[in-house]
Amino acid sequence: MSATITSKLHTFSDKEQKDTRSGFGLAMDYLGETNPKVMAMCADLTGSLKLNDFAENHPERFVQCGIAEANMIGMAAGLTIGGQIPFATTFANFATGRVYDQIRQSVAYSGKNVKIAASHAGITLGEDGATHQILEDIGLMQMLPGMVVINPCDHNQTYAATLATAAYEGPVYLRFGRPKVPNFTSKDDTFEIGKGILMNEGTDVSIIATGHLVWQSILAAKELEKKGISCEIINIHTIKPLDNELILQSVAKTGKVLVAEEHQRLGGLGSAVAQLLAEQAPTPMRFVAVNDSFGESGTPAQLMLKYGLDSSDVVKAVESF
């Protein structure tokens, strides 16, 4: 059963189900054709990162690093010297936590034009369980000075984010996921790093969502509309730098904020928004996020429900104001 939702600004449909990582792979193949400086690096997860086409079509710019992520990050930093634009790719857990010091010293502190592209982020990685379900990566990456952090919401947005990441000069952490999810944004939407997107205009509460939680928030807003609660939805694909202006404008109108993300409550988008508002516009807040817990094996849908990341959790949180 598919849903079509018309907001005040757009019509969204979940008819097309696609994984965000495929948007990345498609964009990389396009970049392979169009930008001879772009290189793809992978640590034995070429298929999982949807890089088969890139590897086949541009073998001279594909670097198989083996199961050695620290070396991959260091080599990526070295590749920028001489002007290459390397995308170092693996699962989000191995792309961040495992190699934090390499990213910190060789990439961020050294100011290198390295793109860290991480798939299988968050709990929706599913059956592999908590060893692979990193829910701390946004926090780790946004703490690093100068690091841009991007978490697109669907296939089309991941495609656009990948192109924007390649065009941007400086280190970027680009995070996306494993499961097929509604591909509800338009291919024609503009994507600008650091500029959030207004998905729905509303008056009672601002829902600030990122990644897979944008769709859950759209579903929740439909439910809440039936109950007479008008939700404004902001799609924050770039967590750092945060679109302060768009958030402050929305909050000035609604006076209530809910932040929704597939990440720990501590250190993610919620923390960033709370910090902004505490300083500039103290506002009552609610958080839909994982609450100081590791994940476990299960289907993505089961896990979203069990760990409080479902549209019903967004509805409950808004009703708790």
């Binding site: 080599m75 590749l79 100011g111």
Partner: protein, 281 residues
Amino acid sequence: MSNISNLEQLASQVRRDILRMVHAVNSGHPGGSMGCTEFFIALYKELMDHDPSFNMDGNNEDVFFLSNGHISPVFYSVLARSGYFPVEELKTFRKINTRLQGHPTTHEHLPGVRIASGSLGQGMSVAIGAALSKRRNKDSKLIYSLHGDGELQEGQIWEATLFASANKVDNYIATIDVNRQQIDGPTDEVMAMGSIRQKFEAFGWEVMDIQEGNDMQAVMTGMQKAKTLTGKGKPICVLLHTEMGYGVDFMQGTHHWHGKAPNDDQLANALGQLEESIGDY
């Protein structure tokens, strides 16, 4: 005067720089710096084709990476005395607002530095990446790097060595400063290293020794030979046998001066053993 004796005079001056720099801030790592002085001078004065006007990409020039960043004093002294920045600037080492940070960094835009180092084990990966970048740019110049022998205890080094041979990265010479000392003591006591040669050979590298790593002629000849080994399908590892603290009798051959600065008397004693050949900064 032969060129070698010019370089030896410079070595004496560089060692004076190292000691005066660490003494001034009562911190830093003189021991390894003094042990690698001949190597740096050979590299920057003779072996590398490099441009002190400095651009980050280093296209069409040889590029060096210091992986064991704590020996920054020798790196800074030789960079300054090769024209990368004013020799005067050495007096700012480790002081507030300096470009000469305790460990080298690109963050303050010091000419000659292309990567931050200090957290050990990362420089070989960076060097291999830069070697791949040269290969991609059809740039025939070489990549050099330096590592401590204690640094080989870091796992990332072995990820990098495996990659380099598997991918025939043969435009790259990694030098290991084999002084057999680390902060806590002799490497064989802290973590027995076994045969470094056999380890690199097992990982598919071409390995050669420079037994007299503090003899200018020997270092020059050895590194020239290393250059002739490039381009043959294997990465090159040079085992540079040095003495930590070389050049000052009471500092030589011990780990005690790994990360300790001399006091006033010790400095005076040490400088008395090192000719001020070119002029102090």
